[in-house]
């Protein structure tokens, strides 16, 4: 059976600069650096900035599946999704590296993390 892995992270009470919760252009640049450094190849991108002081949503399609980010500036919190197919130690290492780099960027006081196996 073919397997992928999805790492879901909920980052709460983050100490990162507010710019990373509000500014989709700034976050796009930082996230691109993280995703590329981790070893994923970006193939497409979409984003949205919510009005009325809301957060930002960014999704990077990568050659191994996707990375999605939703920010909640009112709570200094973040939902992070890193989904990759072709389950292997190599891809798992990439995803773990990306997760750690996003954690370093956002500096959450609390992290709720789940690893979900996906089948295809």
């Amino acid at each position: 059976m073919k397997q992928g892995l999805q790492i879901l992270g909920d980052f709460k009470n983050c100490r990162a600069d507010k710019v990373y919760f509000f500014d989709d252009k700034v976050l796009k640049k930082e996230a691109e650096k993280i995703i590329k450094k981790s070893g994923f190849e970006i193939v497409d991108f979409c984003s949205h900035k919510f009005g009325g002081g809301g957060g930002i949503s960014l999704v990077f399609l990568v050659s191994e599946s996707h990375v999605a980010i939703h920010t909640w500036p009112e709570n200094s919190s973040l939902n992070l999704d890193i989904f990759f197919c072709n389950y292997s130690k190599k891809n798992e290492m990439k995803a773990r590296r990306a997760f750690e780099m996003f954690r370093d960027l956002y500096k959450p006081r609390k992290v709720m993390r789940k690893n979900i196996k996906r089948h295809y």
Copy 2:
């Protein structure tokens, strides 16, 4: 604590026409119909068609978070993600409706489904 819900579906041995595994334009149209009918508002979109007989990946950012689809034509299988914030009966109903409509479209012989609570 603010909560969202993420419905993860792995559809195996689907009986849908192959066009829904290969053709990103056709799937985009069908998926748009499903997402709108469910009550979600689409705010951005990205997609990728993999070469060499590979599948297609589509992500719709919706005002309530995202819907992601990855197809695997070689296995007639699909990974579906429906993530919405503002956990409420109303949004849960939208997500369930969307899930059921995607199941009707792909006609999987086997469905592996997980509901994951997200915090923000």
